[in-house]
Symmetry: C2
Subunit: 151 residues, 2 copies
């Protein structure tokens, strides 16, 4: 959470602090990526489901861990996972560390989403480079790398 | 969604593209802010509830709009709103534009969270300035402002 958006906030509240300035490009790009999924034959994967797919480890991840990473309740995460499972994008497998527990893992169909996402990320970075120029894009990446390393 | 985190991803997957580099500082700060809320007497406001409070307009916002902004399902957003309402942080009021609809609006108790958040944001920006230096912090803000303006 950051400080409150202004009264006139539309679907994208006007950025007013660095937290919001960081949040908005990611949020806008995520919404666009899910439009791309629909165009590519995956209309059942909507923006909320990004909260599952972007936090999955290759070997699978528990629902409780996904919920913590995505800052969602376990119940809400469980509902997103169930939707993706019913459409074949993820599967539940026993956790080798605890046979009573389950890991959520991407299927081959789910991996098609990652291929689309990689292409989309490359396109988005090219668009941002055109907007900002190569030098400022390089600065942005370097500063963010240092910020992330220091967190 | 961005491309998949590496197999070894812990609670904070290693940043691997600009989307993730943008996402992680916001995500880490949001988790810390909710620890601060607990320390200040608001333990019932947990990280998922930031998805409500950060997207509320002063005059109130419909659940469906909140869900779209937060990239959550309406059902999951409704559950977060109900939790915050039962603890007195938000209230539902008739929408002047459509009497059958309701707006979710912060209460005086909810506004205490924004005061804590503003203080937290100032502290966090000071920490980041110490980490990066004032000049690179200024660069970061300027580049992000231009990026947001161009989206």
């Amino acid at each position: 959470m950051s400080s409150k958006p202004p009264t006139t906030a539309a679907a994208s509240p006007r950025p007013e602090n660095l937290g919001v300035l960081l949040r908005e490009p990611f949020r806008v790009a995520s919404a666009r990526l899910h439009e791309r999924f629909a165009e590519r034959g995956h209309p059942d994967v909507r923006a909320p489901h990004g909260n599952v797919m972007q936090f999955l480890d290759d070997e699978g991840t528990r629902v409780s861990v996904l919920a913590e990473r995505a800052q969602m309740t376990k119940q809400a995460m469980g509902e997103l996972v169930a939707h993706l499972e019913s459409h074949g994008y993820v599967e539940r497998v026993p956790d080798p560390a605890d046979r009573r527990a389950k890991l959520v893992r991407s299927t081959a169909k789910g991996n098609e989403l990652y291929a689309i996402a990689r292409e989309f990320v490359a396109e988005t970075e090219a668009e941002w480079t055109e907007l900002l120029g190569a030098e400022r894009m390089r600065q942005l990446r370097g500063i963010l790398e240092d910020l992330n390393a220091g967190l």
